[in-house]
Structure formats: structure tokens, C-alpha cells
Amino acid sequence: MTKKKLIYAALLAAIVFVAIASPALATGEQVKAIKGVRFIDLKLWYAVFLFIVGFIGGLVSGFIGSGGAFVLTPGMMSLGVPGAVAVASNMCHKFPKALVGAIKRHKYGQVDLKLGLMLGISASVGVEIGVKIMQYVQQMWGDAGSNLYVSFAFVVVLITVGGYVFYDAWRITKRGGLDIVPKLAMRLQKINIPPMVNLKTANVRISAWFTIPLGIATGMLAATIAVGGFIGVPGMIYLIGASSLVASATELVIAFVMGLTGSIEWALVGMIDIRLTLLILAGSLFGIHLGAIGTTYVKEHMIKVVMGTIMLIVALSRGFAIPKYTNQLGLTSIADSSVKLMSNISFGIMVFALSLGAIIILSSMIKAMRKKPSEIREEVMDFEGAADETA
């Protein structure tokens, strides 16, 4: 047992050192680009805004394993915070939040630590690859090209993966909440390519050659759209065969590893505004506990419902942001006033996506808490009936 813990600790230390040893890549470039004030003067309503968005983001993260960053970063930028400082300050709140959430959900027996660390390590490599691609795109097509690439990745990944997650959640709801291991995951589990990994909490035995690409893809997506969980959680469910509960809880371990390594890079170049980080953290630590508690009350497929809903609405929001960049690249010539309106609509939809996710979580949690024991018994009997029919 102690040996295992030592191995985990050594692996974690290795990731941190690898990440620090690698040059600060995009970090350095973005720092050079900042002219003028790095850290803004705070107003009271900024603090209130960050606390509230932090709470909602924390609630969603505690429940589905990720979320919040896609609203927090542009939200801070709209307050006048430079882009690099917004990304850095958001990243620095992500790892302590994920740590608190992972510990909480580990107590509920939902975290597969081995899977989380394996994916966390490969995700750190994926981040480096993702950053290299981003740098290449920026060199070739400038800021507008880079932003268009990010929006395009957002829309394609979120519609494809989010659409499937939502469809799956709808199918499970029709079956009365009965979730089954996806066929693709079962096929992958049967392929015996050493080294095979036994994942106790996930109750899965799978080749490491299938977990590594998933981790890399998660990291690459995190480097591109800042929300790696949108591919990490569905990947753990549909490729590895982990349950929604285990996948969403394990994602918090990945978020901690990636968040810590990323924060160290940003801290080394002095881009973290700790005041912003602490204000977001004040709200998000209230949220993350509530989200984690919520997973013990609601039916498991609610995780897929919330995740699919958020992903699809966010994809729509990014669609509205695209004309701004196509204009900048000279591909379209839409009036500036229309582009500005569409950018505002885009941000509004993102806020709506996060808020709707929080409303679904809270309402289903309150509903489950109010249920009488007799109602729960009836539901269990219906569920068992559906399981027999499926078998």
C-alpha cells in the first residue's frame, strides 16, 4: 500500500518537473504581448461577479468534473483583465478547486486515482502538443486565424461529442435510468496489448495504449479551448468503460494535475493575479462541495444530461463568435455593429449554458432529496424490471 502511494507521489512529482522544465511556451509569448496595466483595479461589483460565476462554475465542476472556465476567462477579459492574466488567474483557481472536489468525491468512492494520474500525465504531454499547434496556427494566420481555429475546434468537438452524450442521456432516460457499458469500450477492453492496467474503482481492465491517446487528446483540447473535460469525461465513459460517476470524479484529478502544472508555468512569468484567483475560489469552493454532494442523490445519467446540454449550448455560442474572426481574415464583410451584437450574444449564451447546467443540477438534487423512501423503493423496482428486460 505504501509502495503504491510512493509510486503515485513520484509520478505526480515527475509531471510537475517535466512541465516546469519545458520552456513556458505560449506563456512567454503572451506575456511579451501585454502592454500597459497587468493587474486591474478592483471594484466591488467585480468581486460579486467573480464570486457568483465561481460558485456556479464550482457547482458544475463538482458534478460533471469540469466547466466554468469558458465563462470565467472571457468574463474577466470583459472587466478589462488582459487575456493572459485572465487565463493564468483562472488556471490558478482550477487546481485547488479540483483538489477539494477530488478529495470529496474520493471519500464517496468515486475517484479512480490510477486512471486520473495516467490520464493527467498524458494530458500534460497533450497540452504541450496543443500549445505547439496553437503557436503554428498563430504564426501562419495571426491572432484572427488562431481565434477562428479555436472557435472551429469548439464547435466541431462540442457538437460531435456533446451531441452523442446528449443522445445517450436521452436513451438512458427512456430506459428508466438504466445505463449500460458502451459496446466500443467492451471491445477495447477485450484487446490484450501489454501493459494492461487494472482500474479498481472504474472496475475496468484495459490496455494503457488506449488510455494514453485519450489523455493526450484531453490535454490538446485543454490547450485549445481550455476545457479538456469535455473530451476527457466522455472518453472515459465511451472508450474506457468507466461509469459517469467515476469518469466525472476522476476528471477532477486530471484537472488538478493539469491546473497545477499550468499554474506553475504562469506563476513563473508573474501572470497570476492572486486577488482574482481568490475571489473566484471563494465562490467555487462553496459550489464544488454542493456539486459533489449532488452526485450522491441524483440518478447517474443526470451527469450526461448536464454535460450534453452545456456542450451543445456552448457550441452554439461559439458559432456566434465566428463572424468576428472571418471578418478579420477578410473572408466575410459583415457590418461591425452586427459582429459586436453577435459577440455579445455569444457571451450571453455561454452564461446561459452554465446557469442552465447549475439549475438542472440544483433542481434534480432538491427533487431527489425530497423523495420519500417508498418512492425510492418503487423506482428501484422499475429499474430492476428494465434491467431484466435489457438482459
Binding site: 497587468r38 493587474f39 478592483l42 490558478c92 483557481h93 487546481f95 485547488p96 478547486k97 483538489l99 477539494v100 470529496k104 471519500k107 464517496y108 497545477l260 499554474s263 506553475i264 506563476a267 513563473l268 512569468v269 508573474g270 501572470m271 497570476i272 493575479d273 492572486i274 486577488r275 484567483t277 481568490l278 475560489l281 471563494a282 469552493l285 462553496f286 464544488i288 462541495h289 454542493l290 459533489a292 454532494i293 450522491t296 442523490y297 431527489a368
Partner: protein, 80 residues
């Protein structure tokens, strides 16, 4: 909510209060010394340890407070 038969679980009022006061105190210290914090925590290099350590410290203190806060309110995980 989290009651076991014949035994009522005590609510952690004292822990919630202690961690709550400590957390509020830490926030008070940071925001009353804003200029100092802004200058030193954003220096980079060896000073990188300051924001990282602060984030860990707040996650422990404020995280413990929020945890006990929900326990005091009776909002706890469902027993399986």
C-alpha cells in the same frame, strides 16, 4: 439527514466557526494589503511560490470551512 439509527450525528458548529473566521481573516489580510500582494505575488521567478502556496492554503482553510458549512446546514452526501 445523515442520521444512523439510535445515534444523532453532531453538527460541526465549532469547526465551521473556526475555519470560517480563519478564512475571513485571510481574505481580510489579502485585501487590506492589496498593493503589497499585487507587487510581490506577480513578480514571477522564485516568487512563483507565493501564488501557488496561497492557492493551496486557501483551498485547505476555505475548503474546510465550506465543507463544515454544508454539514451544519444538514446538506450532506446520501448514505448508500
Amino acid at each position: 439527514m445523515a442520521k444512523s439509527p439510535g445515534r444523532i450525528k453532531k453538527k460541526p458548529y465549532l469547526k465551521a466557526l473556526l475555519f470560517g473566521i480563519t478564512s475571513a481573516g485571510l481574505y481580510w489580510v489579502v485585501f487590506t494589503h492589496e498593493a503589497f500582494v499585487k507587487n510581490h505575488w506577480g513578480k514571477g521567478g522564485i516568487y512563483a511560490v507565493l501564488p501557488i502556496a496561497t492557492a493551496f492554503l486557501f483551498s485547505f482553510i476555505h475548503g474546510s470551512f465550506t465543507n463544515h458549512f454544508y454539514s451544519v446546514l444538514g446538506i450532506e452526501a446520501k448514505k448508500k
